[in-house]
Amino acid sequence: MNPVLEVDRLAVDIRTPAGTVRAVREVSFSVRSGETLALLGESGCGKSMTAQAIVGLLDPVAHVAGGEVRLDGTDVLTLPPAQRRRLAGPGLSIVFQDALTALNPIQTVGAQLAEPFRIHERLSRRAARERAVELMERVGIPEPRARAGAYPHQFSGGMRQRLLIALAVALHPKVLLADEPTTALDVTVQAQIMELLRDLRTEQQTALILITHDLAVVAEQADHVAVMYAGGIVETGRVADVFAKPRHPYTRGLLDSVPGEVARGTNLKSIPGSPPDLHAVPSGCAFRTRCPLATDVCAEQRPPLAEAGQGRMSACHHWKELADD
């Protein structure tokens, strides 16, 4: 089966007081229907920027500087704005982290959920409303008919996130992006929301792109993972393979940092230093200043994302050393 979404050498620039910096560089990945791809990375690694570029919701200070985003083979970045807007909903759709600000506070949730049906399917007010109520029921909101007349602030955090997901999947998108969908929620609610997302993905045969910093969420939810660092992808592959035997020192550093089975009182393995500022990304490999394997070649040559074993890729000059361990 061909991938439904292919991102090819996507680059995003941001204008800042100190000049233009590249926030996303040469990011390529693809995802198939009914599959979950996780974009994993720490804050500022460019994962959210990548998602915003794909759905065309970049901040005014940022713009796409190159690359292609192909949905079923068509590059959406070159489409005229009107055609691109028509894709929002049935083509590409996004769930944001902050459900309170993503919903309109002065409109009832019923009206907001009916909107996609009115715009894209030109349904009557009543028919659209009916669909909205069905949708609310599907995402697990109790008493949907009565609650359709309520405003966003009258819902709890978890319920708001459900509403946002309902809005995103209303038109059965081919690709659904979820940007840290559970970060703001409590653990028990988090589990419910992830369950819902997974069910919807299977039901609608959607391709799900899960953007997160949480390794455990990736381990449980995703089929494939793309690990990002300082604007670029450093490793891709099936989650089970990557997490079992990482082939990039950054991925391994992240996995080692998780306080899991390490005995209490002993030190966790940590990655020294902190992620680089976009203004001062090291030459060559961006990770070399924090990397235990770094050698001279890492400072001179930027390692390309290259084949590193069956169905996996790594952007490291020394991935073989990790594989041999």
Binding site: T16, P17, A18, V61, P272, G273, S274, P276, D277, H279
Partner: protein
Amino acid sequence: MTLVETPAAIAARRTSWWRLLLRDKFACVAVVILLLVAVSAVVGPVLLGDLAVKQNLRAVNRPPFSLDDGWAFALGSDSLGRSVLARLVVASRTTLSVAIPAVLISLVVGSIWGMWAGYHRGRRESVSMRIADVILSFPSLLLAVVVLYVFSPSALNIILVLAIARIPIYLRAARAESAELQSRLFVDAARTFGAKSWAIIARHVAPTVLPTLFTVATLDFCFVMLTESSLSFLGIGIQPPDMSWGLMVAQGRQVLQSAWWIAVFPGLAIVVTTVSATVLASWARLAMDPGQRWRLTLPRSRRKEVKP
């Protein structure tokens, strides 16, 4: 460890205040104008005191921008043949000696009161705000008229009346910001050390609130000068033969159609002084905030759009 720091921020840290000021043309011009006003207020009356009151009935209502009658009449003369330029310079002292104390008193009282009320919240806050509402609901000009009619219209009384009428402005602004700040975590941190409330206000609240209030105060400067001129117009403000810019505007208003310069130049002096003070205040507000200072190294047009 790498630092999250833009090159511009590093540059700003190494630049001295003086360099920062020189970089900003508007702020430089404002400083020059304010210095000029200050110098004329200090030495003007000594140098030009006689010239300002000397009547020359052969040269009444001379139009400005002509040097036929000597430099003293460069800005024209009034209906008694007195030099407008000399009067402008001499009047700056009275004007500033009313406006500055009035603004300072209301600023000091209003901001301390407001920070105290906002920091403690509760009853102290609501009582203070009701008092402010009462003062504000009373037309300040009417208040001034009543007070100055009952008491003598001396400079001190004018200052006090103007100051009291303006206290609520600072009280409200200071309370709002202080109430927001007192809920911040770094204030909580200071409480865990056992710091006293006044120490916290001085250390954490005032440095953030005061720059805003300074900007408000410079704008208020204009208002106070104009109110003083209205009082003078009603005959209960500065009394002739003393002179102030406000009084000059009031006197010139009667002959505005035949001799516009008599009212316009003092009016212009008020506006230019106020605008300069405002420009300088907004510059100082940025320069005093270590998180914002780097913006001053950018061209003016780009200051607002960029995120730190």
